[in-house]
């Protein structure tokens, strides 16, 4: 049996790939869209039987992140895995299949006054969000997918379906594969559904903002709020070449207490209060190359004033996580300088960049414990068929 027949026997929705469906120029032969976990399992088993390399595709918001796959025969589209399996409002948990758009999930939860506190850019699916470990400004308070996934169902490279965790928040039975798979970018298995811990939607929110002329003032404002008892849900700082240093603080809580709380923060940082999110809240900075950074709060001044700051537009969360974006046409040597400057004060990983840039720079930087990571990868995907080459250290 040829591969297409085998795949079609396993999954109802299989077709030859269109030329434009390439992953960073690597064109798959087939595209399959399983609609159930069973179908996904049968599909991966068939793919294994034919030694096909595969890449999973969700909302395509981050499909161009990381290097191109070294091989890609099969694109697994998760968007037909689109059921919200359960929302147990009284237990503050929900289970959704991988292809459910995060916005749809949050709309459904919102109807019951609850939310999944992951506020990444729009368009992402549940599976893609977990696989990319993606989170927005709320990460300061609520963390990232690793902190909010309480149960995960995956399909292994050989088609085996496996589950870890469960649907209760407090649970220490067995290894937590949810945390391992969060941020694994499809290199360990196909995420088919996830169960999340939810939070109540806050009744009210307020933003306190100010733009400062100097990095020192922005640093002081951020640290004043961070070390206060203001209990901010998010603290963001942003700057761009030639622009000021903007600090935005999000406060959430009961409407009765919020005005007094936001006034206190406003006087602490000399800011103004608004109900609406400021422009660009939670968005990636603009550019043709995007770098994910980790710089601790004490090094914020260095982040805002270092040699990279002449070229890069920056956003940063007081959680220590941030982004740097470089304008189109930034030569590879300059990108390398930016990376070196960022790595001297923290971590920097190139998420996307023009091909010539990506080829010329070290996109990952140092990867501690790489040998151990390779061994874990070899256990889950001994034939290296899952998004090969797309991950840290060439995994």
């Amino acid at each position: 049996m040829d591969a297409l027949d085998a795949l079609a026997g396993a999954c109802a929705d299989v077709r030859p790939a269109e030329p434009e469906e390439g992953v960073l120029g690597v064109a798959p032969r087939y595209v399959a869209a399983p609609a159930t976990v069973e179908e996904a399992s049968a599909l991966l088993r068939a793919a294994a039987g034919h030694g096909l390399a595969m890449v999973a595709r969700g909302g395509e918001t981050r499909l161009d992140w990381g290097p191109p796959p070294t091989r890609c025969d099969l694109l697994v589209d998760t968007r037909r895995l689109d059921r919200i399996v359960e929302h147990a409002a009284g237990d503050l948990v929900a289970t959704a299949e991988a292809g459910v758009p995060l916005d749809d999930l949050n709309a459904a939860l919102g109807a019951h006054g609850q939310r999944l506190a992951l506020d990444g850019p729009p368009g992402s699916t549940v599976g893609g969000t977990v696989a990319a470990g993606a989170a927005g400004p709320l990460r300061l308070r609520y963390g990232t997918p690793r902190d909010l996934v309480i149960g995960l169902t995956i399909v292994r490279a050989d088609g085996t379906v496996a589950r870890s965790g469960g649907k209760v928040v407090k649970n220490v039975a067995g290894y937590d594969l949810g945390r391992l798979f969060a941020g694994s970018f499809g290199t360990l298995g196909l995420i088919v559904s996830a169960t999340f811990r939810l939070h109540p939607l806050p009744p009210a929110r307020a933003f306190v903002s100010q733009t400062y002329g100097s990095a020192a003032e922005a640093y002081d404002a951020v640290h004043a709020v961070l070390h206060s008892q203001a209990d901010a849900a998010a603290i963001e700082c942003a700057t761009a070449p030639g622009a000021g240093h903007r600090v935005d603080v999000l406060l959430e809580g009961v409407a009765e207490a919020l005005p007094a709380r936001s006034d206190r923060v406003a006087s602490l940082i000399g800011g103004t209060v608004a109900e609406q999110a400021p422009d660009g809240w939670g968005a990636y900075p603009d550019g043709s190359a995007l770098i994910e950074t980790s710089v601790p709060p004490a090094s914020l001044k260095d982040l805002l004033t270092g040699p990279h700051a002449a070229t890069a537009a920056l956003t940063w969360s007081a959680s220590g996580h941030g982004w740097a974006a470089l304008p189109a046409g930034t030569p590879p040597e300059r990108v390398a300088e930016v990376l070196a400057a960022l790595r001297s004060i923290g971590g920097a990983v190139v998420r996307f960049a023009p091909e010539d840039v990506r080829a010329a720079v070290d996109v990952w930087g140092p990867v501690p414990a790489l040998a151990l990571m390779r061994r874990v990868k070899d256990q889950f995907d001994p034939e290296h068929r899952l998004s090969p080459g797309r991950f840290a250290g060439g995994i």
Binding site: V168, H227, S228, G320
Partner: protein
């Protein structure tokens, strides 16, 4: 002929100094169990390293001899995670108790694994910070043990578990290498290491996140006629969108025990008491606290006591915190169970536990973290009575079945250890367990690091699952046990 343990003893004495190696059978017995005293095994050898290099050297020596080893912090674990091997080495972290760094601007501290949980909070409290995970054992348990067990405490409802408060670990891998997890790009190996119960390596340095002390803490005690009305109050509070720092519940039998032990003076005649604590900014807490008080009364609370100050708060908590030990006053012996159910299943499950108790004649006192559905039924028995322990064990196991049946978990915080490995198949399929053990195979292909814990059947690394014939090679070699 010298045995491998003899050779290891000599090697470790050379590496660590003779006073860091214990081989004397009488002294070894100190280490024969952790907080789960029903499982005992004197270790073949105990070592007391002082540094990561020494831990790594011991691990390498064990690997060279093919001898299993187990890490131990303070030995307060309640699932036998630190149960030693008679044919192995116990690596005790009690000489690794330095707080290495306090970094307030970055809200971090770096500690050695033997540091006592509460000592971290004490050290940073002058700066207005604390270490949020607060297991009831926090005065004695180690941060290394917290990492291994992913420990939580009464306040994890709002603040999460150890996994949420550890940002990096230095780890000695089963290869004897020292690696840093939690830094840089790549897999979140730290995420899976936390909660792996010491089966993936030994942590030698831990970077913890520090949490700002909240502006206000307010605590109330509400007394109800019955568990049902207490449960109604919990649902109402959660349903109102309030996330308390803690919601704890005790039933009549647990109250009786606490009263006998510490005279906590809870309202007389209560069928259940609820402790609710809120913390955060003043205005926020004040508003929600009124709401909680009202919801408790609406649910039928016949008395609500609000702590006016820290002393009164401590008094409210005394009864709850003493509950485990207190049942010793009303029963000669008891088992502490740890299971989780979806919070909404609470009334139904408690009724079933009652029925189990009535049918078997085994008394069960209930203490639980009601906010997250984590039950701690205390199964009472008289160890002098023949067959009583077995009956208690049976009831205790049946409670776990109830948890699984309702979509819950066999452990919320005490871990699987040796105690519950046999229950894992009730919650997970063979494929699930096999997949988890692939991680273990990546870290520890020879299976020498804390073998026999967590998983009922070891996976032979590299083997195709499901085609095993005859006894497992690790079992045949005595390197692992089957339950």
């Amino acid at each position: 002929m010298s045995t491998s343990l003899d050779r290891l003893a000599a090697r470790c004495a050379a590496l660590l100094g003779p006073d860091a190696v214990i081989g004397d059978p009488v002294r070894l017995r100190t280490y024969e169990c952790d907080g789960l005293t029903t499982h005992r095994a004197a270790p073949g050898l105990v070592v007391l390293p002082e540094s990561a290099d020494q831990v790594a050297a011991v691990v390498r020596a064990c690997a060279a001899e093919g001898v299993p080893y187990v890490a131990r912090g303070s030995g307060t674990g309640l699932s036998g995670g630190a149960l030693p091997r008679t044919d192995g080495v116990l690596i005790v972290t009690s000489r690794m108790r330095r707080i290495l760094e306090i970094d307030i601007p970055n809200q971090r501290a770096v500690v050695e694994p033997g540091v006592i949980n509460l000592d971290v909070s004490k050290a940073v409290r002058p700066h207005g910070y604390y270490f949020a995970p607060d297991p009831s054992s926090q005065q004695i348990c180690s941060v290394g043990g917290n990492v291994a067990e992913n420990s939580g405490g009464a306040h994890c409802l709002k603040y999460g578990f150890t996994a949420h408060h550890v940002t990096a670990c230095e780890v000695v891998t089963p290869d004897g290498e020292i690696v840093k997890l939690g830094e840089g790009p790549g897999y979140d190996l730290l995420g899976v290491f936390v909660g792996a119960e010491g089966t993936l390596g030994i942590t030698t340095k831990i970077t913890v996140r520090l949490t700002r002390v909240p502006e206000t803490v307010r605590t109330l005690l509400a007394a109800f006629d019955s568990i049902e009305s207490g449960g109604t109050a919990v649902s109402a509070i959660i349903g109102a969108g309030v996330v308390p720092a803690a919601i704890e519940m005790m039933d009549a039998l647990a109250i009786e025990a606490a009263e006998a032990a510490v005279g906590c003076g809870y309202p007389a005649g209560a069928g259940a008491v609820l402790i609710v604590e809120l913390d955060g900014p003043d205005g926020e807490v004040a508003h929600q606290f009124d709401q909680v008080e009202r919801l408790c009364r609406d649910a039928g609370a016949f008395e609500v006591r609000v702590a006016a100050d820290d002393a009164e708060r401590a008094l409210i908590w005394t009864g709850r915190k003493s509950a485990f030990a207190a049942v010793g006053r009303i029963s000669p012996a008891y088992l502490v169970q740890d299971g989780v159910i979806p919070r909404t299943a609470l009334p139904g499950v408690l009724a079933r536990i009652d029925a189990l108790s009535a049918a078997s004649g085994v008394r069960v006192a209930n203490v639980f973290h009601a906010g997250d559905g984590n039950l701690h039924p205390l199964v009472l028995f008289d160890d002098a009575e023949e067959g009583a322990a077995e009956r208690a064990e049976e009831v205790s196991g049946a409670i776990l079945d109830l948890c699984v049946e309702h979509g819950g978990s066999i452990t919320g915080e005490h871990g699987v250890g040796v105690d519950k490995a046999r229950y894992m198949p009730r919650m997970f399929t063979a494929e699930d367990l096999d997949t988890m053990q692939m991680v273990r195979c990546g870290f520890d292909p020879t299976g020498l690091c804390n073998p026999g814990k967590v998983f009922p059947t070891p996976r032979l690394c590299g083997e195709v699952p499901g085609v095993r014939k005859g006894p497992h090679p690790l079992v045949a070699e005595g390197k692992a046990e089957l339950f």
